[in-house]
């Protein structure tokens, strides 16, 4: 099978496993010198993405942090990360340049992509010194605001609300941040999907019917989007760290800002120390924190007050931006 070529941020990637999540980054031209190659060890034909139905297959796994519970890590060094993912296979991530997958018997591409785009790509980013954080990013004017928090903090819902008000999605879930040599902070677009709970969808006036389920949570769905999502990196104007509480927006600075930023936004923090990347990661986060204001945005869990809290956010932008 001819490998697919993608340009993800500034990386040229070839992949023997088609990645429909990256359709917006696919390039027609072949990639003679890719930065990253994704290869699959297999004699079996992999099913094509359009052969997969939205539902069905093994039942989704339940529970928080299931990925790490079912994982087996084979090896972690500065240059190499090998792990076993159930129903998907063996992954070998090397030197920030190569990901090799040995599929488990009967593995489907959807499961294989899940761990490819999650832990494998996350580890590759650490190997390359790329800052990739748990964040939903939305375009506002000519720049972008990032919303950080762990799973369950409500960043996707917040992003969905903003999109329903006409803003464009830049990135959801894992977002790439960088500071250019001239000191300008920016953020890259990523695959245009939002993962939302069923009741969140309902509150936004949408139905879950026909939507692809999330792998881990049977009541969570991928929401496809209008198609005008951001295609290019955008200047990063501000970062909001999400928490539950009485509505309010508080500016954070110094050690508090950095600590809470790293705490809310780090992806697979458990990889940092074994990869020898912990100090570098904090420095990269500090570099962002130096150039981008960080606020804590508290919202109530109570639905009836959600809109009011979001209106506070919109007002905040008018003053800030």
């Amino acid at each position: 099978m001819k490998p697919c070529c993608y340009t993800n941020a500034d990386l040229h990637v070839t992949s023997e496993l088609p990645i429909p999540e990256w359709a917006a980054f696919e390039s027609d031209r072949p990639c003679p010198q890719p930065d990253v190659t994704i290869t699959v060890e297999s004699g079996e034909r992999l099913s094509r993405p359009d052969e997969e139905s939205g539902e069905g297959g093994p039942p989704p796994l339940e529970g928080e942090g299931v990925e790490s519970e079912k994982f087996e890590t084979r090896l972690i060094t500065g240059d190499e990360y090998r792990f076993h993912a159930p129903h998907a296979g063996e992954y070998w991530v090397r030197q920030g340049r190569a990901i090799h997958i040995t599929p488990a018997p009967g593995a489907r591409p959807r499961e294989m992509r899940l761990f490819l785009l999650g832990s494998a790509w996350g580890a590759l980013c650490y190997q390359r010194g790329i800052l990739s954080l748990h964040s939903s990013v939305v375009q506002v004017g000519n720049g972008a605001f990032a919303f950080c928090g762990e799973t369950g903090a409500g960043k996707s819902l917040l992003a969905a609300w903003l999109i329903s008000r006409g803003h464009r999605l830049v990135s959801d879930d894992l977002s790439r941040f960088e500071v250019l040599p001239n000191g300008a902070p920016r953020v890259y677009p990523s695959s245009p999907r939002l993962k939302l709970w069923r009741d969140a969808l309902n509150k936004l006036g949408r139905s879950a019917a026909g939507l692809e389920r999330d792998y881990f949570r049977s009541d969570k769905f991928h929401l496809p989007l209008p198609g005008d999502e951001a295609q290019h990196p955008l200047p990063l104007a501000g970062i909001y760290l999400l928490k539950w509480g009485e509505p309010g927006i508080t500016r954070l600075t110094g050690a508090t800002a950095l600590r809470r930023f790293v705490e809310s936004a780090t992806y697979r923090g458990d990889l940092l120390e074994p990869m020898g990347q912990a100090a570098a990661h904090w420095q990269r986060c500090a570099e962002i924190a130096r150039r981008v204001p960080i606020w804590e945005f508290a919202r109530p869990r109570d639905w009836t007050a959600f809109d009011a809290a979001m209106e506070k956010l919109l007002k905040h932008w008018q003053n800030v931006y």
Binding site: T253, G254, A255, T256, A257, L258, R259, V262, E263, G269, L272, E273, A278, A279, H281, W282, Q283, A286, A289, R290
Partner: protein
């Protein structure tokens, strides 16, 4: 693992291994990435931090600070001892030799 080491007049101290630092807003931060924590150092702590880039004794630190700041020796010694003890307990400072 942090052990309680008593800081004496002649104890040589220096910055902990693997502690990086960074300037952010008005603060000097000491970052212990492995522990997943960072500390803000105030002006005095920042000055002490500069001095302990290489091993130096408590006596020598107090002598330096006494030259730079108008502070009586006893107060200085008491405060620097407390500061170093705190930094040592937090794993930011190691005792050399």
């Amino acid at each position: 693992m942090k052990t309680t080491i008593k800081i004496e007049a002649n104890t040589l101290v220096q910055r902990g291994k693997d502690i990086s630092f960074s300037q952010l807003d008005d603060e000097l931060l000491a970052i212990d990435a492995q522990a997943g924590f960072c500390y803000s150092l105030n002006e005095t702590a920042g000055r002490v931090w500069d001095l302990i880039a290489t091993p130096i004794s408590l006596d020598a630190i107090c002598a330096q600070l006494g030259r730079q700041f108008a502070v009586d020796e006893q107060t200085c010694r008491r405060e620097v001892t407390a500061l170093l003890q705190g930094l040592c307990d937090a794993g930011l400072v190691q005792v050399a030799g």
